[in-house]
């Protein structure tokens, strides 16, 4: 079959990212030709500033070398500017006459720097700052000349000025507005920035308007002349010497080619949500585009566009680009600055401000309707990524408000020695304690492999891919390494996995509303991209089905992790561990004897008391499991599952001289009531008989504490990766109420949390107020929740006895031989 022809005009970051995404989805669909006006393969334009300041070289910032194009069979025309599109014959023509035919055309022509229409703009030594050639020109000028003037005090202008200063020039920044980076900073932050740049030897003239550039003897610029300040007499304008003038006053989408081809443009090539121009065969991405009235000049949105565009080019036809929220980070070494969203605020918003002038820290957060809508951070930006995430998610910050300004102080408290500021870490310090990844390795991978997302970093380095407690640190490292290119993925809109665009919530809704009863039905109805999903979505779907349609949906063992399929916990050597249930942590001589006999008979190497008041038999061979279970004659403890684990109890009023409630029996009752319950993640409970809380109810998913007048119920605690103290939910009087309230809480969690969310993650997302509303205010709703849980658990059989006595799933435990 003849391959379709895809031609791309523009060889920059947005376009090539689109190709990369396309090649991932449909590697053989197109015969691809790329035209680039520059002589270089795709490089990381964002990192031109470190090249200018000498911290990196051009080679360091190449993202796709020539081998990459070759390996993917892409015909690459470098140094060839496309000047004409013939839409009728579907061909493009370059300046030198090279032509190419297309079935689909992708325009990624980027943007052009704005050149001020002042006399003298064509003089030698007057340049813009956009590409490698400009950067080289600046480096060259810095070696020969003394005076540089940068016109424009925005992001790009300041990075240029800093670079030239580092290279030894006397640099003056001229800015039309009263403070620097007015599009990203408020006045206070702008002034602080100016002060610290002045300390580095930069000079500033602002507000100041350029009148003309004055030429010298050899046609090279000699000086910059300014218009007189308003109110002063004409002719009083000042002049400063300049051997190099860098114009960095903004960029303009490059639409020349598109316009000449008759495509609709309006300060950018106008595209729809699928990145198509008005000619449906022609797509456009990147800075040249205007989408829903906005043109973007930062990398993160361009990548989002690329993803959507690739999806449509690959004929998948799903995914829409709905616009982006952007954030800015200045890449001047040693200056920390972050800005996002509506940082100015207004009458309808509130501001939280922290200003510590002597230590150079300024933070302003703008809040509207209990949501973070914007912010400026200066001097201390470690929490930038977190704020940006809150902002993008549009999550209510009402609960966080009192400590919002102090940032996400707890990034997790194990595995990285209490470090929570990536910037303060040396390259040799360990970031990920699970996989032994240090900061230097992560930074190196980000730079060398051109990584831009957390997922990429996880795939390549494994950092934060196990327990996830160092995710915050890894995000910080990513944000500080790639600067403005970093875009944290929105939590609320995160797809379930790479097999679908849909979120957990959307999938669950469809399962409920369409009464889908099996994984193949879900995948067909929701147009799954892959034929049978992956190891991420299948277990989630299986749980969602079983939870939504108890006794009706088909439980698919092949979509469960091995532990839940084998009903035992796989160990590193491939053997299994067996933990029988001991309700409330209470056992008896008979059980203990049986456990001892089993350990002898099957030569079980390790017998250990668990943290959950049970006994663990470790090192059991898989084929022995059914017989071990038969001999134990005890129910499964579900210690291997996303399920109810243990209910830890203290001795309570039956024996303890302090006990005020019978916690042991309350625990046994709870454990029997919720036994064999599957959940989004493991569920641990505890019951203490008095406020001394010996059962540690404060760090359980559901913790109950007996007091003289009844029981207090605490929820969403966690003793693991990140210690979280459980929050008070309710105080009740009777044992029946304890069961009902705990059951109702667990059932909302089962119905609404995402698969692999512990209770704390879910409650943090929806807020405890929501949970209280559902359980404390809505009495009927609470009872209905509890009923639904009991219905789901009705008639569930003990999986061990099913397998031991009735031979269920025998093939799972028997090996074949030859």
């Amino acid at each position: 079959m003849r391959k379709m022809k895809l031609v791309m005009v523009g060889n920059g970051m947005a376009g090539v990212r689109t190709l990369e995404e396309l090649l991932k989805l449909a590697p053989d669909l197109y015969d691809i030709t790329v035209f680039g006006a520059e002589p270089h393969p795709n490089y990381n334009r964002i990192l031109l500033s470190p090249v200018l300041s000498g911290e990196q070289t051009v080679n360091d910032i190449i993202l796709n070398d020539l081998d990459w194009y070759r390996a993917h069979g892409i015909r690459l025309h470098l140094n060839k500017k496309v000047t004409r599109i013939d839409r009728v014959r579907r061909r493009v023509y370059a300046e030198d006459g090279t032509e190419a035919e297309y079935d689909r055309l992708l325009l990624a022509t980027g943007s052009n720097p704005v050149i001020l229409p002042v006399p003298g703009k064509e003089l030698k030594g007057v340049i813009t700052y956009r590409d490698i050639a400009d950067t080289d020109a600046m480096i060259e000028a810095a070696a020969k000349f003394r005076h540089a003037v940068v016109i424009g005090g925005g992001l790009l202008g300041l990075e240029a000025a800093n670079g030239l200063r580092v290279r030894g020039m006397e640099v003056t920044v001229v800015h039309l507005m009263p403070w620097l980076m007015e599009r990203q900073l408020d006045e206070t932050a702008g002034r602080l920035l100016q002060q610290s740049l002045e300390k580095r030897g930069l000079k500033f003239l602002l507000p100041k308007e350029t009148e003309c550039l004055v030429g010298g003897a050899v046609g090279r610029v000699k000086a910059v002349r300014f218009k007189p300040a308003p109110g002063s007499a004409p002719g009083e304008g000042t002049e400063i010497p300049a051997d190099l003038v860098v114009m960095a006053v903004g960029i303009r989408p490059n639409t020349e080619l598109a316009e000449s081809a008759g495509l609709h443009c309006n300060r950018g090539i106008v595209v729809n949500d699928t990145m198509q121009t008005f000619d449906p065969r022609i797509y456009a991405v990147g800075e040249c585009v205007r989408h829903r009235g906005v043109a973007y000049g930062l990398v993160a949105p361009l990548f989002e566009m690329g993803k959507v565009c690739a999806n449509h080019l690959a004929h998948m036809g799903i995914g829409r680009y709905a616009g982006s929220v952007t954030s800015t980070k200045l890449k001047v070494t040693g200056i920390d600055l972050f800005s996002a969203g509506d940082f100015q605020g207004g009458n309808d918003s509130e501001e939280i401000v922290l200003k510590d002038a002597s230590s150079g820290v300024y933070k302003k957060l703008v809040i509207r309707d209990n949501k973070l809508v914007g912010g400026v951070l200066y001097g201390d930006t470690v929490d930038g990524a977190w704020y940006f995430q809150l902002l993008k998610d549009g999550q209510s910050v009402a609960d966080l408000r009192d400590h919002l300004m102090f940032g996400q102080t707890h990034l997790g408290n194990t595995g990285h020695a209490g470090q929570n500021k990536a910037a303060a870490m040396t390259d040799a310090m360990e970031v990920c304690g699970c996989n032994g990844v240090c900061k230097g390795t992560i930074v190196k991978a980000i730079k060398e492999k051109g990584l831009f997302t957390l997922d990429d970093v996880r795939k390549h380095t494994k950092a934060s891919s196990s327990c996830g407690s160092c995710t915050g640190l890894v995000e910080q490292i990513l944000a500080s390494t790639v600067g403005g290119a970093y875009a944290p993925q929105s939590n609320t809109a995160k797809p379930l996995c790479g097999c679908t665009e849909l979120t957990h919530e959307e999938v669950r809704k469809a399962i409920r509303e369409e009464k889908l009863l099996s994984i193949p039905e879900v995948m067909e109805f929701l147009n799954w991209r892959t034929p049978n999903g992956c190891a991420t979505c299948r277990p989630a779907l299986n749980y969602y089905l079983v939870c939504a349609w108890p006794h009706e949906a088909k439980d698919d063992p092949q979509s469960r992790f091995i532990n839940e399929r084998a009903h035992a916990n796989i160990q590193k050597d491939g053997t299994y561990s067996v933990i029988p249930r001991m309700y409330g942590g209470v056992t008896n001589p008979d059980q203990l004897r049986r456990i001892a006999d089993v350990a002898d008979k099957y030569r079980i190497p390790t017998v250990k008391v668990t943290g959950g008041q049970r006994i663990d038999l470790l090192g059991v061979k898989k084929e022995d499991l059914p017989r071990v279970w038969a001999d134990l004659a005890m129910p499964s403890g579900y210690a291997y599952g996303k399920a109810l684990r243990t209910v830890k109890t203290c001795v309570g009023s039956e024996w303890c001289r302090f006990g005020v409630q019978d916690s042991t029996n309350m625990g046994i009752e709870l454990e029997k009531a919720f036994d064999r319950m599957w959940a989004p993640h493991k569920v641990k409970m505890a019951v203490s008989g008095c406020p001394r809380n010996c059962a540690e109810s404060g760090i359980k998913d559901v913790g109950v504490i007996g007091v003289d007048s009844g029981w207090e119920i605490y929820v969403a605690g966690n003793g693991g990766i990140k210690t979280e103290v459980a929050q008070f939910l309710a105080k009740v009087k009777t044992r029946e109420e304890v069961l009902e309230y705990c059951g109702a809480f667990i059932q909302i969690y089962r119905e609404e949390a995402r698969y692999l969310d512990r209770t704390v993650h879910w409650v943090n997302r929806v807020g405890l107020d929501y949970v209280k509303k559902r359980i404390l205010d809505d009495h009927e709703g609470r009872k209905a929740l509890y009923e639904r849980l009991l219905y789901a658990l009705q008639g569930e059989k003990d999986p061990w006895q099913e397998r031991a006595a009735k031979g269920v799933a025998r093939h799972e435990f028997e090996s074949l031989s030859v």
Partner: protein, 110 residues
């Protein structure tokens, strides 16, 4: 010396004995071999050791022509035994075929 041309196929199980999107372990003189069956009833045989830390691939989740190891989540191609990029490594593959609903494995080449 004359070369024996017959291939040495040994029967391991009926196809039905291997669950779809699942695997069975075959104990062999060469060690444990995982025999997989995907949704299209294709079968694959790999040494039952993940290229990462030797985890039992037979216990993993199978999809398309891949399996995800139960220990640390590495994914391996069933047809080549190669780890899915960017991970690097590979595990041995064995010739395997289905004939008349029976699965045959070749343990040594003639």
């Amino acid at each position: 010396m004359t070369r024996v041309e017959t291939e040495m196929w040994v029967r391991v199980a009926a196809l039905e004995e291997i669950p779809r999107l699942g695997a069975r372990v075959v104990k062999s003189p060469l060690g444990d071999i995982a025999v997989f069956r995907n949704n299209q009833d294709e079968v694959f045989a790999l040494r039952d050791k993940c290229p990462h830390k030797g985890g039992p691939l037979s216990q993993g989740i199978v999809f398309e022509r891949k399996v995800t190891c139960p220990l640390h989540g590495w994914t391996t191609h069933l047809d080549s035994g190669q780890a899915v990029a960017p991970d690097e490594g590979c595990t041995a593959t064995f010739p395997v075929k289905v004939e008349g609903g029976e699965v045959y494995l070749q343990l040594e080449r003639p």
